[in-house]
Assembly symmetry: C2
Homo-oligomer: 321 residues x 2
């Protein structure tokens, strides 16, 4: 063991996603000191994460006290096993936790990626200073996490924060979860593309949009065209924001938190999406609750989950001490 005092210990945070694995060496105060990123190698996931951890550990001169991993899916808080992960199914097979512990010789914690992202933003990002916040991440999927009195509220079985499956249109489209009209069916990146394509097919005037000329486009392209002043793209982003705002209003009404922090790829549209979110949340929430809440964009970008995962490892080490 290192003889350095605990305050100088570092932690490694890892984010798993469908495409990439991101890892960061993080100081106990949440500052990211070094980063590594690789395309996900599903066939050897455990070995890949262990290799990234070993590399960053060398960089830290060995002073690493624990590893945290943020997984897009449900993690059983009792066993630390990944129960469901649509994006990284290889995380469900085998026992990733045991494999990582054995390969690194370090304490390892696994948690939902939105929980990690929330803790990252809370520690060094947009959530600093607010002890009660709801964090939302909107990308390929939609995640959420809740921090109350400075601590993650995971719920009784570890599954709290399922913001993406709030019904915002009772007569809406079918969701992968079996419900109809979940927020995810309209506001996730793939669903922004789906809605935009449907509307382009339906609405002849929208052929004036440059998106109508593109065969394939992404949600980021829609945001890009909106920023360039394309009215149709702007409409799609604004409507998406209004749907998100409806679900944010439910959070504000139920929880009366002081802060709602929104991150993930879809939020890269910036104020074009943030402003309609705020307007719709204001319209649809109980005013005294709304007035007590700030709705802001996340600030850590791709660092949020690795930093937060490292903070989960830090908190587990403190808890164990």
């Amino acid at each position: 063991m290192s003889s350095a005092p605990p305050t100088e210990q570092h932690f490694i945070g890892v984010e798993l996603s469908a495409a990439v694995v991101r890892a960061a060496l993080v100081a106990a105060d949440g500052q990211a000191l070094a980063r590594r990123e690789e395309a996900l190698s599903a066939g050897e996931l455990g070995a890949q994460v262990a290799r990234l951890v070993a590399g960053l550990r060398d960089e830290a001169g060995g002073r690493v006290a624990g590893v945290g991993v943020g997984v897009p899916g449900l993690v059983n808080p009792q066993t630390g096993r990944v129960v469901i992960s649509t994006d990284v199914p290889s995380a469900v097979r085998g026992d990733l936790l045991a494999e990582l512990k054995a390969a690194t010789g370090l304490p390892v914690v696994l948690d939902n990626d939105a929980n990690a992202g929330a803790l990252g933003e809370y520690t060094v990002g947009a959530g600093r200073g607010g002890r009660n916040m709801f964090y939302v991440t909107i990308g390929t999927g939609i995640g959420g996490a809740l921090i109350l009195e400075g601590r993650l509220w995971r719920g009784v079985s570890g599954f709290a924060g399922e913001f993406g499956h709030i019904t915002i249109d009772p007569e809406g489209v079918e969701c992968t979860c079996g419900n109809v009209g979940c927020l995810e069916t309209v506001a996730s990146a793939p669903n922004i593309v789906r809605r935009t394509q449907e509307r382009l097919r339906r609405d002849s005037t929208s052929s004036l949009s440059r998106l109508g000329l593109a065969k394939n486009f992404s949600a980021a392209d829609v945001a890009h065209e909106a920023r360039n002043g394309d009215d149709f793209a702007l409409l799609m982003i604004e409507r998406t924001g209004r749907h998100i705002g409806t679900a944010v209003a439910a959070v504000i009404n139920l929880l009366n938190v002081e802060l709602v922090v929104l991150g993930g790829g879809v939020m890269e549209a910036g104020e074009l999406i943030l402003n309609p979110i705020i307007r719709e949340a204001g319209r649809r929430s109980f005013q005294p609750c709304f007035e007590a809440t700030q709705i802001v964009a996340a600030t850590l970008g791709p660092d949020a989950v690795p930093i937060g995962a490292a903070m989960l490892a830090r908190d587990a080490a403190r808890h164990a001490a």
Copy 2:
């Protein structure tokens, strides 16, 4: 001061509503020992409550350590002042808290009636045994309150639990709060009556319903006819349940609580409304969250708020000790 040990101290809980004031003498374990009820006398509200308290205090042989009052509206948790109360506007005028303290010479706490009801059900009702529960009361208005880890979560400004203002139909009817499509616009008692009347006017086949013959009827009448097998009344109750279930699903998704307890006059329809609530909540919530949650009817009836208000007084006394 009494020389009895603190465990033998009693508390008085009071519920204010548009029509009546209910007070109960309650033991420290939550058992109601005596009850008084009067029609609300808005012109002399403080004096009326003080008189009810004095009567119950005499009955207790003086061994009363504090008074709690549940108010239908928003109570500022810092000042204890009632900020908004549509049902009992006289509670907002003047300073009810100071008046009651002066009149009784006892410690007094004021809180939202749903918070009190939640604590009542949690202590001796349907919430016993679950440390994490969401409580809903559906009557003239709709209230909600959240208990996490055995403690009321009031939110940063004391307004958490605004279940009635969750949007369940983005294109719905205008609500008194300014939003459209709040749960309250379809599921509160007056809105059940409104929807039933509208449908009776619109739908000729529903003239077969006995409700079509009645000039004036209440939500309780609709429930009564449903229990007597009136298909139309049954349909109205079932649809109401489905709307409530949609909002319950949002709670389950966000909070992953173990228990949702539903009380208030509208729930007197029993299983006719509870079953569609459970079915719709199951359909509209994320399955791992739903499977962790029990959805049950409240069991204390009109005792919930007075008992819970007394428990608020008990907890304040413990906190002060």
